[in-house]
Symmetry: C2
Subunit: 322 residues, 2 copies
């Protein structure tokens, strides 16, 4: 069964790790958010792509959930020296965006290849091959696409996503999110995956800043809506809270309901089924009222086996819908 | 006594370390070759500036002569993985240009500041301040200026300097050197140093690819010639051989004589005095015949004290000439 997965970072990576235990990895395509991508020190950084790659390679640091195991931080430690001499207003030498020494190699390779004129799709495939990842990993776009977060303040101000997410540890209130996309388009490979996959899973990622950017690309929502019965979403909200990251607070701050019902309202146009955790069984009626079938199953992925069961439940939901 | 020094990498750095024991460092300006600069993995790298900075900071690795003490190579080791997946013809992920983990911080800072629009002169001053280096360090230009080396082959081919110097360990014959300078100009700070210093020293660096680029900038040779009696050069050739690097072979391959006499021919237009090592005392007449006064003194800098004595001899030569 060929499966396409709309993916953000950590949650999606864990889901994918379970999915490849349920179906052959070569039948899986991950369409990964790149709106968190940034340039630091001149290096092109794609956090969600790397999290997915490293996780599928079994090389992710299990405690942090991002970056590589057996990592060291010598370059970043050395960068501290320069923070003291940078002129007022300069953003050079930020050490809040922590890049491990081994992880740097990935950014070096990506940066050099992009400078050579390769597309992010090409480079991502090369990086996946280097890590012997058999899942097809596709950036959602080869174009520049950036999430901009409006902080509630005071003063209210717009900052790049990573300034909010890492720089301020996503701990400040948000009053808006917009995408600086400048006419970005998705890729032929993404379109083929969306059109051809026998099942499409929206991973348990932040619906606003991880799945939102993918959906914002021209044609994506239309393609999903056209195949709605084959699309199943996994709620990233469990018991009213995000398992990881600021999805719950963001939803509340932006006027949505941080619950599986709120998630259902967001996904009803594009997905026939919402998978929710057993703790949310009581809200199944609200999900159905929002226009989605509701599948209740344990969705907290503590082990790879948890993830496999969750993936299995998603695929079963599509099979029974079709 | 204010002193300006035309500087390449290792030899110049050692000389400068001795010079600051002979005169206050705040009276010294180093005008540093940037024709070896390169971009690797998207990072702006200035090898000679870094060698001078780290040496004056007492942080250079004493055995290698370049890079930092107490260095690790985790990022480069990790890069090896990507060499195997790069497409034919791609130069991404070269591991022959070895960048230490701690050293990377310098390239990160430089790259980020240049992207912000700072000049290399400004960034170099900031980096020097971070390392508490009191010598004024000036890049020879803020513009792009690159040495291109023609390899004798066969086949004869042109390669960027670092491909020759590091990639091929400067062990292949050279049939030409040219500068890809595209109208580069020196800076007001360099001109002020050349015009104002009470003494000017041409450090014992490669006359073709380290000092040559500085001299190739418009106006530099004219300024030096106008103050020729205050300019003293130190021969990088001792007993017919370069102490470090390919200067002797390069001179021979390009039709020059790899001796202090050959050096004198190169420097006679711009410097009144050539300092040569005691092993070359017998060639003093040849130096004079080429049109330079010859000062004979131990010039091999094994210790900082050797370097101080050599610097002292250079300053004395200018004093007695003036």
């Amino acid at each position: 069964m060929t499966v396409a997965v709309l993916a953000g970072g950590v949650g999606a990576a864990r889901f994918l790790r379970g999915l490849v235990l349920a179906v052959p990895p070569t039948e899986v395509t991950a369409i990964v958010n790149t709106a968190d991508d940034t340039v630091m020190h001149g290096l092109s950084i794609s956090p969600d792509l790397d999290t997915v790659t490293y996780t599928l390679a079994g090389a992710i640091d299990p405690e942090r959930g991002w970056g590589l195991v057996d990592e060291s931080w010598r370059a970043m430690e050395a960068l501290g020296r320069y923070a003291e001499v940078r002129p007022d207003g300069s953003e050079a030498a930020p050490t809040w965006f922590n890049l491990g020494d081994r992880d740097l190699a990935t950014h070096f390779y990506r940066t050099a290849r992009l400078r050579e004129g390769a597309t992010l799709t090409e480079v991502t495939a090369e990086i996946a091959r280097a890590w012997e990842v058999a899942v097809e990993l596709l950036p959602m776009t080869d174009d520049r696409f950036r999430t901009v977060v409006r902080l509630a303040g005071p003063p209210e101000e717009e900052v790049p996503f990573q300034d909010y997410f890492v720089g301020r540890r996503h701990s400040v209130p948000v009053s808006g999110v917009r995408f600086d996309d400048d006419g970005a388009r998705t890729t032929a490979a993404v379109e083929a995956a969306l059109d051809g996959a026998e099942a499409i899973v929206v991973a348990p990622s932040n619906p606003i800043v991880s799945i939102g950017p993918i959906r914002a690309l021209p044609g994506v929502d239309g393609r999903l809506a056209a195949r709605r019965e084959r699309v199943v979403a996994v709620s990233p909200i469990v018991g009213g809270a995000a398992l990881k990251g600021p999805a719950d607070r963001m939803m509340r701050e932006l006027g949505m309901t941080p619950s599986v019902a709120g998630v259902a309202e967001l996904y009803a146009p594009i997905a026939g089924t919402l998978v929710v955790d057993t703790v949310d069984a009581g809200l199944a009626d609200d999900v159905e009222a929002a226009g989605m079938r509701c599948v209740v199953t344990p969705s907290v992925m503590t082990t790879a086996d948890d993830a496999r069961s969750l993936a299995r439940a998603c695929l079963d939901a599509v099979s029974s819908a079709g």
